[in-house]
Structures are given as C-alpha cells and as structure tokens.
C-alpha cells in the first residue's frame, strides 16, 4: 500500500467530481473534471489504485500542480 498524490496539470476550477472515495480505478480512469479555458479537462488516475480521498470540491479553483486527490496504489 502506498499513498500517491494526484496533481492537476492545469489551472482551472472543479466542474464535476466523477469518482467517489473508495472506488477502485484503472490507470486512465477519470477522477474529476476541471473546467479550464472553457474546456472540460479530466484529471485521470495515473496508475491503477483505490481512490482514498478527494482534496477538492465542485467549483473550487485549482492551481497548476495542486494535489486534487490521493490514491492508494
């Protein structure tokens, strides 16, 4: 078991939370969707694992490089 921080690659705001904590995810599964530059940009699980925690709520602003979720890989 290893905690892994998932960072947002872009700045924007949280448009929609997709995965719930506790869900098992495959690499590439969307965790949440950001709105950035008027586009819907998914933040995806970089590796397979269980979603431990979402660090943001819908409509929260997000900076580039901000940790938005924690995975248990």
């Amino acid at each position: 078991m290893a905690r892994m921080e998932v960072e947002s690659e872009v700045a924007g705001s949280v448009w929609k939370l997709v995965a719930r904590p506790g869900t098992s995810l495959e690499a590439g599964d969307p965790i949440l969707i950001l709105e950035s530059m008027k586009m819907e940009i998914p933040v995806e699980a970089p590796v397979a694992g269980r979603l431990l925690e979402l660090c943001v709520a819908e409509e929260d602003p997000v900076e580039e490089g901000q940790v938005v979720a924690i995975l248990d890989r």
């Binding site: 690659e9 872009v10 709105e35 950035s36 530059m37 008027k38 586009m39 819907e40 940009i41």
Partner: protein, 517 residues
C-alpha cells in the same frame, strides 16, 4: 634495421588507449549502472563501424633518459562510424579517467569534434558525461596565461555547426559547465531518467554562492529539465537514449547541402481511417487526442515526438508521409485548450527553424485558440515569444501544409501557416479574430449589460456567430484549398508530398538565419 621496436610501441599505446581508466575506473562506471564511453560508441553505431580518430593522443610522462614513465589516454574518444548505413562523427568523454573533466589531450580532441563533423559535412553525435574546467593547475606562476588574442573563439564552431549539420547530444551522467553547454547546443538532446543531471554549476558551487544545500537531482534532474526545455526527450536507460538519437537522425540529411532521406514505405497512401470521422467531439467543451489524429494520418510507426514535456500546449514530432520525412506541429487542447504559451511559442519557433534548416516540409494540425492570456502568461512575455513563432512561420522556406482540425483564432493562429501553405479544412474547423465565447463578452459588453436576460442574449449571439463560422463558406470563397472528409487526410497529404518534390529539390544549402540553441 626495421622499425619493429616503434611498431610494438604503437601497438602498446593503442592497447593503453583501449584500457581507458583501467579496471578500477571501468568497474566504478559499471557499478553505477553506466556504460563506458567505448561501450556507448559501440551501441550508438552500427556494429563494428567505429573508426577512431587520434588514438595516440595522450598525456605522457618521460624519465630523464627519455623513457616513457606514465601514459594517460586522452579522456575524449572521437571517430567516424555508421548509423543505419549512413556515416556520422561520434565523440564522448571518458568518465573512467579523471571524472570526465578534460585532461589537456582530451580537451584538444573534444573541441575538434565539431570541426571534424563540419569539415566532412556529417551529423555529430555527442555522448556527454562530466564536468567542465577545473581551477587545479590554473594558478601556476610563470609561463604564459590565457589564450593568445588572435585565437579563434572556441565556441564559434559549436555555433556554426548548428547551421550546417545535424547535432544530437545525450547526457549520460551528470553534465555541468561546458559539457552542459554542448548538450543544449544541439538539434536534439536526451537525458536518462534518474541517471543524468544537467547543470550550469553543480551543488558545491551553488552552496558556496547561494548558501543553499541542494542535490544534483534537485538542481538538474529530469523533473526539472524536461519541463524547462533544456533537454528535449527523456530516456528510460542509456540504450533508449542512444536509440532515440539514432531515430532522430533517420529523418535528417547528413548536412544542409542535402535533402532529408525519403524511405521506402508499405503503408498505403490511400488509407482512410474511420476513427478520424469522430475524432473531434461536436461538443466544443470536450477535448480530443491530437496526437492520436496525427498517428492515424502519418506512415505507420513513423511518429517520433520531441520535447513532449515542454510547452505542452503545442505538439512537435517527426514523422513520414509516403516515406518523406516531415515535421509535424499541432496543438494539444488538453493543456489550456492548446493556447500558445511563452514556452509553447518557443517550442514552435524552434521546430519551424529546425525544419527550415534541414528542408523538412512542415505539416501542421491546427487547433489554436490564441495566445495564452492571464497574469502568468503576461509576466512570461507570451506575446513576444509568440510573435517570434509567427515570424518564423511567416518567413519559412519549406513547403507547408496546414490541416485545420478545429480552431484557428487570433494572431497566434498565424504561427501555424507558412507562406503558400496548402490549406485543408475539416468540417469541425472554426476560425476568426477571437473565439466566439470571449469575443461576444467583449464586443457586446454594453448590450449584455443592458439586457433583461444577459445569459439568453449571450447564448443567442454565440449561436448566430458560430453559424457564420462554418468552414463551408470559406471553402466556397477559396479561402482554403479543400474542405475534406477527415478520413481523406492521409490521401490528400500523401499526394501533396509528391507535388512538393520539385520545390524541395531547390532548397539544399544554408538558410538565411542561424539556428541557435
């Protein structure tokens, strides 16, 4: 009397040269998971093709009777070899001797590498590991100091090489100072994950100057330089780095006096991929995979991306179309909608100029919403770097094809169309001065402020304007050469490749600008 004694001495010295830094130096290198420079040379070249230059170069010590008492080979290995049957020059520091920091004989050979490659109009491969100069020995009293005033600047040939021959460099360990400078004075650079660090000055210098302890990896590891743009590509290990250098060279001529080598290909030129028809979502808010589109269009297996971690709003890759090497450019809408950032603009300019220098046609897959905006973008000087990219496109000499996949807005859009560009529109193409959403907010500010239902008015205005931006009227007005079914993209581009052969034939020779690091 024969010369047998001297012949034996020549043989002994050659054996010394091959012994490098001796078993200890070699095993130290291997223990760190690294190849020696001679192993690297063997791996980057076609097997058995290395022909060494200056094997007798060494630092020798002689006793009072003139007998040899010490012999250290030059710690720079240099020579000719073949890559995929094409001749190149290759050189690299021997880290088993004096930590790669140049000894006197090694320095003479290393600064000759560029001369050798330029003289023979051959690509240069640099295998870099080691530090720059040392203060040891520089403070001796007496004798002459400094270079004579009439000395040719050492860096001139390094600069001139970039305008004449392909130069590829790999950082295969820590490189600092001059070797780091040589790494970036290249058309392609690669570093090895976790094994290479690139620094102007290492941790000891930093701590002394800035009072801050820092590791080599923190200073100049891949996490820093794949983002900074100092290094183009990341390799998983040394072998991967050397293969990437070979692959890069396969798209390039030996020098600017030749054309890129067209290869045999077996991918049908009339291949139409159904996946292209729905590659761009009708919902404009949803991003799509531009790299996937590019891969479906070019010759199968020929897509080789450059600088993926830098200027991520823009995509640059080498590829082939009907066997013809081309430079691919495009936007990645997953990264700030593909809006051109300061870094993205520098990337676009660099690769337009690279293609121009070596006569590679440019194929641009356009989805450009404009220059990146906002306080960060302004403070980074986006508009200046952006205009440099636009200027590079506007003055390009190579044949250029633009496939307008989706958006082309603003001044930044002009960085994606060279002179006399062959212009193909997809049905999803949309262009104008500003994207509809932002444009409505600016142009109809008063009307929106006075409206009873501003949201309804905004939606109506946006819909009306969007309808006027359909690509069909542009095709009717001959504002593009063709509007095409996206599936037809490969056949159209492969045919274009045949048309441009006459234009390419007259391009060999240096371009009017200097390619700079």
């Amino acid at each position: 009397m024969s010369w047998q004694e001297e012949a034996d001495e020549i043989r002994r010295r050659r054996e010394h040269a091959l012994a490098q830094g001796g078993p200890e130096g070699i095993s130290r290198q291997h223990d760190q998971g690294r190849w020696t420079v001679r192993e690297r040379v063997e791996h980057v070249l076609d097997p058995g093709s290395f022909r060494e230059f200056g094997r007798a170069t060494a630092t020798a010590e002689y006793g009072p009777g003139g007998e040899l008492t010490g012999y250290a080979p030059a710690n720079y290995v240099l020579g000719f070899g073949m890559v995929d049957g094409r001749r190149v020059v290759v050189g690299g520091e021997d880290f088993t001797l004096k930590g790669g920091s140049p000894n006197a004989a090694g320095l003479r050979k290393s600064v000759y590498a560029e001369h050798l490659a330029v003289q023979h109009r051959l690509p240069l491969i640099r295998l870099l590991e080691g530090g720059g100069g040392s203060v040891r020995g520089s403070g001796r009293p007496g004798g002459t100091v400094g270079e004579p005033v009439h000395t040719e600047p050492r860096f001139r040939i390094i600069a001139e090489a970039l305008g004449q021959i392909p130069v590829v460099s790999a950082a295969l360990g820590a490189v600092a100072g001059f070797p780091a400078g040589r790494l970036v004075a290249s058309h392609f650079s690669v570093m090895v994950k976790g094994r290479s660090q690139v620094m102007a000055g290492g941790p000891a210098l930093v701590e002394r100057a800035l009072g801050r302890p820092v590791t080599k990896e923190e200073l100049g590891g891949h996490a820093v330089h794949i983002r900074s743009g100092v290094v183009d590509n990341l390799a998983q290990d040394e072998e991967d780095a050397l293969l990437q250098m070979r692959r890069f060279l396969s798209y390039f001529p030996a020098s600017v006096w030749q054309l890129p080598p067209r290869q045999d290909f077996d991918d049908p030129v009339d291949r139409c991929e159904d996946a292209l028809l729905d590659a761009v979502p009708r919902n404009r808010r949803q991003p799509f995979d531009m790299r996937g589109i590019m891969r479906l269009v070019v010759d199968s297996g020929s897509f080789f991306e450059l600088a993926r971690g830098y200027g991520r709003d823009q995509i640059a890759a080498l590829a082939r179309l009907a066997g013809q090497p081309v430079m691919l450019l495009g936007n990645d809408c997953k990264f700030y909608a593909g809006a051109m950032s300061a870094a993205g603009a520098q990337k676009v300019r660099r690769y337009i100029e690279l293609a121009d220098t070596f006569h590679l046609p440019i194929v641009n897959f356009v989805d450009e919403p404009g220059f990146m905006i906002g306080p960060k973008a302004e403070s980074e000087g986006t508009i200046r770097y952006g205009m440099a990219a636009v200027s590079a496109a506007a003055t390009a000499s190579v044949p250029w094809a633009s496939v307008q996949v989706h958006k082309t807005f603003g001044v930044a859009g002009a960085a994606h169309y060279g002179p006399d560009a062959y212009l193909l529109l997809w049905p999803s193409a949309e262009s104008g001065a500003l994207p509809v959403e932002g444009g409505v907010a600016v142009a109809y500010r008063k009307e929106l402020a006075a409206a009873e239902d501003p949201d309804a008015l905004r939606a109506q205005l946006e819909n009306d304007l969007r309808a006027g931006r359909s690509p069909f009227p542009r095709a009717e007005s001959f504002a593009a050469h063709e509007i095409i079914d996206p599936r037809e993209t490969r056949p159209f581009l492969c045919e274009w490749v045949e048309w441009i052969q006459g234009r390419l034939a007259i391009l060999p020779g240096p371009v009017r600008f200097s390619f700079r690091p």
